[in-house]
Every structure is written in C-alpha cells, then in structure tokens.
Symmetry: C2
C-alpha cells in the first residue's frame, strides 16, 4: 500500500509539464525539438512578446525579466524549466533561476555539443550584443577545452531580419557575409548559433561557412539535455498519448499564432493565451 502511494505520487510528478520560456518566438525552436524527442511530454511555453527583444537591453533588465518569466512558469506547476533564450542563458551561465526544480539554459548544452563536435578546437559563436558582450560562451568553452580558440561576433540585425521574413536572398546573404566574415577568416570548424532565432537562417549561414563547418543550434541541444535530465531524475512522462502544448504570451496571442509557423515548422499546435507577467 505504501508502495502504491509512492507510485501514485511519482506518477503525479511525472505527469507535470515541462516549462519553456523565451523573450518571444525564438524559443519555439526548442519546443519543436522537445516535441520530436519527447512526444509524450506536455509543454507550457511563455513568450514575453510585450517586452521583446531582450538582446539589446542591459544585464540588469534582462535578469529581472528572466526571473519574472521563471516565476510565471513555476505558478503552472512545471517539473522542469528551460530558458530557451540565448541572451538569458548567456547572462546566467550555469545558474539555476529556480530554487528546487531541474533547470537549464541553452548555453551549457550548446557548449558541450560544440566541444564534442570540434576537431581543431577553433569554435565560432554568434549571438545578440548582450550575449557576445557577456563573454560567457568563451568562458564555458574554456572550462571544458582549455586550449580552445573562441571567436565571437554580435549579429544585431539577424533578429529583425528573421522577424520580417528576410531569411534567404540577397539581404540575408549580405548580413551573413558581414557578420560571419571575421569568424570564417579564423578557420573555425564549429559555429554556435547562439540565439534561438538564428537557426531560421541556417541554410544561408551553412552556404557561407561551407560544409566543413558544423553548426550547433542551442535550442536543439537544450532539448536533448532536458530529455537526459528528466530521465535521470525519473521524471519522464510515461503516458502513451501525445503531449499537449500550451502557450502563454504577454502581448497579442493572435500575432503570436500568426508568426509561430516559421519557428515550429508548422502551424501552432496548442492554445495561446494572454498572461500578465511583470506588468505594473
């Protein structure tokens, strides 16, 4: 009987959703990867669309927003939280923004993957201004690979390009060349796409960098990390049905729905609701 009670309690824990947050739409690339890897998990997503973007703002402001986003997901009784925002992840490094829940950003899983992928130990990193200025990718890589050479560059026009649909053609190519030339010159063999918007430009970036350069998408790596963390904590959902995705946003749900397809690779697969987060 005690065993039965423990089983039931454990099942209740396993049944809780995985929480994911981002400043807006970019984190949906992580949701997509989670849905593919762990199809039975329920996902609760929060996109802070009323305050997007984070990447051009100050460290203090970004950390305040990330804490509010995390606290919102905690009110939804999630079993794990993924900060699927490259900027937040690079500012917090390895820090857990919750006190008790399993937690990950996208930085450490991406760094681990990059260090596993590189042969020459020459790694490129692109991200928002806040991400590159933090220097956190370089620090984390050197923690694993002391002799690694890390070349970073901020790409502040990539997010507006993706959000306005310039994801191929001459304009996308112009900016890819502009931002990636200093990195290509350094002969990296691995490139971290350190913002969850950037995988949308993957084809143009791959064409420019050449096929010998391995591209790392932090959102996908974070999803892989989450599946291992949940397994090791005995928290994987064991139900047989397809998991349910629920979305919350701080600005218009309609606009989020319209723009989600580019990141999910298909139309929105769950209800989108308005949430008041950090509102005065």
């Amino acid at each position: 009987m005690q065993w039965q009670a423990l089983r039931l309690k454990l099942k209740k824990e396993m049944d809780r959703a995985v929480g994911v947050f981002d400043s807006g739409l970019g984190g949906l690339t992580t949701v997509k990867a989670l849905n593919e890897l762990l199809p039975n998990e329920d996902i609760i997503y929060f996109g802070d669309t009323a305050r997007i973007p984070y990447g051009s703002k100050s460290r203090e402001t970004i950390l305040k927003y990330a804490t509010q986003d995390t606290n919102f997901l905690k009110t939804k009784n999630v079993k794990m939280i993924i900060a699927a925002c490259g900027t937040v992840s690079s500012l917090i490094g390895g820090k857990n923004l919750t006190s008790a829940l399993p937690f990950t950003g996208v930085l450490l899983p991406a760094v681990q993957a990059a260090c596993a992928a590189t042969r020459t130990k020459r790694i490129g990193v692109i991200g928002t201004l806040a991400t590159i200025q933090s220097g956190s990718y370089g620090k984390a890589i050197k923690n694993i690979e002391q002799k690694a050479v890390v070349i970073g560059n901020a790409c502040p026009m990539f997010v507006p390009l993706v959000e306005n649909g310039y994801i191929s053609g001459q304009i996308a190519e112009y900016f890819v060349k502009e931002y990636l030339t200093p990195i290509k010159k350094e002969n990296v063999d691995t490139l971290i796409l350190g913002c969850t918007h950037y995988p949308i430009l993957k084809d143009v970036i791959a064409d420019f960098m050449g096929e010998t350069v391995k591209l790392i998408s932090p959102g996908e790596e974070a999803a892989k990390y989450a599946s291992i963390a949940l397994l090791s904590e005995n928290l994987l959902n064991e139900k047989n049905e397809q998991g349910i995705n629920s979305y919350y946003v701080s600005d218009s749900p309609e606009s989020f729905e319209q723009n989600a397809a580019r990141f999910l690779g298909g139309s929105i697969n769950g209800e989108v609701k308005l949430a008041s987060v950090g509102v005065g």
Copy 2:
C-alpha cells in the same frame, strides 16, 4: 497684493518643464527641435528603453505603456506633455492621455503640416506596422482634406537599420527602395515620416523620392505645435537662461547616453537617470 500673488502663481506655472516621452531614442528628434525653437524651456524626457520597440506590439499593450509613461511625467510636475512616439500618436489620434494638462502627439501636427504643404493632395505616409494598420493618418488627413489620396506603407526594418547605424549606403538604399517604391509610383508630392526614427534616414529617402516631394518630420511639427500651445495658454517660460534638459530611461542610462548623439545631432545635453516605469 492680490495681483502680485497671481503673478507669482503664473510664474510658477510657466517655470515648469515640458514633458516628452517615447519608446526609446526617437523622441530625441523632438527634444532637438524644442531646444532650437524654445531654448529657455526646461525639458523632462522619458524613454521606455526597457520595453522598446512599441511599433511591433499590440494596440492594447502600446496604450497601456503610453498611459504609464504619461503618468510618470505627471509625477515630475510638467506643464505640457508631448507623446513623441509615432506609434503611440497614431493609436491615440487626437485623444489627450492626461485629464488636465495640454497634450499632443506627433500625428495631428504632422497631418496639419502635410495638408498645408501638398499641392496635388496626394500624400504618402510611412510608419511602423502598428501605425499603418491603425489607418489613423489617413483618417486625420481626410478630416482636413476630404479629397486627399493617402498612400501608406509600413517600414518595419527602418528602426533596426537606424539603431544599428545603417543610415546610408547600399543597405539603407535597398530598404528605402523596397518600402517607398509603391508610394513613389502613386506620385505623391508630400511624404510624412511617421516614426521619429525615420528622419535619421532623411537624406536617403529624399534622394529616392526626388526633390519635388516635401518630407514632413512629425517630431519637428510637434515641437512647433507645442510652442504655439504654450503661448496660447500663457505658459511659455520667460526666464533668460538656457533651459535644462533632464532624461529618464527604464533601461541602462549609459547605453542611452552612448546612442543619443545620432538623434540629438550632438552629445547628450543633460543628466540621464534610471526610472522604474510599469515594472512588476
């Protein structure tokens, strides 16, 4: 003695500062015009840099932010408020966001100037997505000029271009051509630059549109309107000394200072302080 008391009271009213707000830096073009037109006025500016941009967000969110910005300036005891944000101005139309103070957005002064400038009654309007979707420029113009033909187009890449320094050269020219070709085709003779960032691209826009097209900068027109409103309300500052500019921002004051020069046409001319506005 009663007369003396009244004079003192009036002087106290006149000595109050003019309040100006915007989502970020763009409203500084209005501050620049105010400093030139009314050099003795004190200006208190609020830039909501922690939540910039407004133009891509929903009507409800923008109106909530604008009300919070207005309430912040009211706590500073200003004598008039200018909403120096094209997006806010177009959403509120002629509405006064304060209950008792003289107030203006940039829309109506710009519309008045455009209707005065046009010969052919064919007027172009460019702005953020929220501004163009609101249709408010068209409505306001037709209120004055029933037979006017108004051609609008949203230019969502202009703000990131200006903020990242692409204000001349091939990339600026590409986007000016992309966004303004449909307007040029319609043979407008007057073009409203309906976002306070756009005057920074004025040279490229003027080159593309040709010298017969008159460009209207709403920020400058709002400054002219304010000078008339203050005069007619008997609120012009009569002191002889140069006015003092004070700046408040919701994100990093340092970053605001660094980027202000592009909009002010010179380095920042007043103290910049952090302000908590609409923070949860």
